[in-house]
Amino acid sequence: MDSHDLGELDPRQETGQAGQAEDLLKVVDLCKHFPIQAGFWRRIVGHVRAVDGVSFALHRGETFGLVGESGCGKTTTGRSILRAIEPTSGQILFNDQELGWVDVATLDEGDLRVFRRHTQMVFQDPYSSLNPRMTLLELIGEPLLNNGVGDAAARTERVAELLSLVGLRPEYIRRYPHAFSGGQRQRVGIARALALNPQFVVCDEPVSALDVSIQAQTLNLLQDLQEAFGLTYLFVAHQLNVVAHICDRVGVMYVGKLVEVADTETLYSSPLHPYTEALLGAVPHPDPDYRGHRTLLAGEIANPASPPSGCYFHPRCPYAVDECSHEEPELRELQPGHFVKCHLAEELQLVGVDLEV
């Protein structure tokens, strides 16, 4: 998935290839640079390269996970894809059910409205993402109202249906969010996202703020809904165990760049990038017999406003050689479907997680 090759591909001709699932979304060389302003004149003195040349594709009906540590750009990527924030450059090719293949980055107002009817977002914090002054009817019915779907009675009926779909009692329809717990509020957020029957949902850390026992309920709900409605998820998260559970394929980001993409089993059991190995090694296992098996990564995440030269990971990488400090590696497809951005990927023998089958 080298960004340059991908840019020249016409996605329409790529669908239906033998053995490959149909693509729903192709992100090509996506960049989002936030300006840093300083002084009285708010002069731009630099840029935070939050997302810096990210390319990947999503197959219809799958769950694609984006993982990485804070500041790696995973959330900004998710939001840029929905044009919740304006990307700086790059293409976001989306196979819309009404519009066909479009580049979301260049959609005009009218088409953007259509696109947004088919794509939705579930947020991390169920406390701040719901307006406390609106009842569940208003909250979940708002997307219907804004898009002129049905009359008041039909909307009420649809909201009641959505509530039972996400496991809440339809009698709650006139209640306000404060009456619900975090897990229940997250269900409200999911119901709202589903109100318009979207094709594609960006889930931005949807279970990070929830308690363990509620996390499991919410993950199960997301999987049930995916099966029932054939949804495609972009699942942004930092919890590697959650991602292992729910995602079909995973992309690992580090300081605004994708460093490795593969299907979940391959990525977890035989990672090719040293950063993926370090991330997997740092996860605490809920088993005391694993104690002390964690690997420690030295140093801290690079500053995306002034990233290091060459490979951004080289100052922390235990395997770095001279080349890594001055030459940036390309994202290469080393095995079919397994992409890695590392000079040494062929030589290194990295350790993943032993998967139980």
Partner: protein, 335 residues
């Protein structure tokens, strides 16, 4: 009291008096912390784990207060051998102020909120010495530098002059560990110290805490909701649910032979990195009950798969000993 025990909490009740009613945040919890060992306290939000810690330090925020129960602190140093009941002390008692910081110290989830933003890191660390050991204030700057070096802060000579906001999240958490350990306390209470950190930084801080524990031989009370961190850090574990300790055991028994239905369900509900079956997770049905309206009997009976009508919804279960150091509060195990 057993000489190996540092803190012995018996039937602690800490209540919050709200306009809507009384929240029994800690509702008869009993647990012990052994000298030099790590007690992991695990539970979901609202289970009372943080309020238990605040009770030990007598820093329960208003409108909360310790209602009844004992918090016995065992001090044995040279020929000094005494037991203080912290629950009997007034929060403003000079003895309590002496215990805080020098015998028991605490680190928090968000280091930014526990540092003053307008004083340098060095100033705030020196303050602990100036307050507790005024006769040794001359040594303070040197000891601060030494401690910063020990907790792995790069360039301590320069960072001692930094303000907290100038440090990264991981460095700030290191500085907070340094502040908590300045006076070499016998107990460090860590309330979700790594929850706000990234996994690679979390691994660094956990390693640091283990390292400092082996150097200073202190006990750690490690509060978290993350069973992975518990497995990594704890020697002994107390599992809390709705203000009560429902199971206590050494860490291996907690993970390999859990007894309480809540703990069993909790362990099954976490997605594991090694397992990828595509199957659904075993979720615990329902939600934690409203703390203003706690059900009678066992606090978990509304969600329990092994619910026995007439018993679980009527009688509060007491601790049953399963094995040495392993007890559970559940009617399934009472005769």
């Amino acid at each position: 009291m057993d000489p190996g025990i540092l803190i012995d909490i018996q039937k602690l009740h800490t209540n919050f008096y709200l306009r809507e009613g009384v929240v029994k945040a800690v509702n008869g919890a009993s647990l012990t912390i052994a000298k030099g060992r790590t007690l992991g306290v695990v539970g979901e939000s609202g289970c009372g784990k943080s309020v238990t810690a605040q009770s030990i330090l007598q820093i329960v925020p208003r409108p909360g207060r310790i209602e009844s129960g004992d918090i016995l602190l065992h001090i044995a140093e040279g020929d000094l051998d005494e037991t203080i009941n912290i629950a009997d002390l007034n929060p403003g008692d000079p003895l309590m102020r002496d215990i805080r910081g020098s015998r028991i110290s605490m680190i928090f989830q968000e280091p930014m909120t526990s540092f003053s933003p307008v004083h340098t890191v060095g100033n705030q660390l020196e303050e602990t010495i100036k307050l507790h050991q005024p006769d040794r204030r001359e040594e303070a700057p040197a000891r601060v530098l030494d401690m910063l070096r020990r907790v792995g802060i790069a360039n301590p000579e320069r960072n001692v002059e930094s303000y907290p906001h100038q440090l990264s999240g991981g460095m700030r958490q290191r500085a907070m560990v340094a502040m908590a350990l300045m006076l070499e306390p016998s107990l460090l209470i860590a309330d979700e110290p790594t929850t706000a950190l990234d996994v690679t930084t979390e691994a660094q801080i956990l390693a640091l805490m283990r390292d400092m524990q082996s150097q200073l031989h202190m006990a750690i009370m490690f509060i978290t909701h993350d069973l992975g961190v518990i497995a990594e850090m704890a020697d002994d574990v107390a599992v809390m649910y709705l203000g009560r300790v429902v199971e206590k055991a050494p860490v291996r028994a907690i993970f390999h032979s859990p007894k309480h239905p809540y703990l069993q369900a909790l362990l099954e509900s976490i997605p594991r990195i090694q397992k990828r079956t595509g199957a659904r997770l075993k979720a615990i049905e329902g939600v934690v009950p409203n703390p203003l309206d706690v059900p009678p009997g066992c606090p978990f009976h509304l969600r329990c798969p092994d619910f026995m009508p007439g018993v679980c919804d009527e009688v509060v279960p007491t601790d049953t000993t399963i094995d040495e150091g392993h007890s559970v509060a559940c009617h399934l195990y009472t005769d």
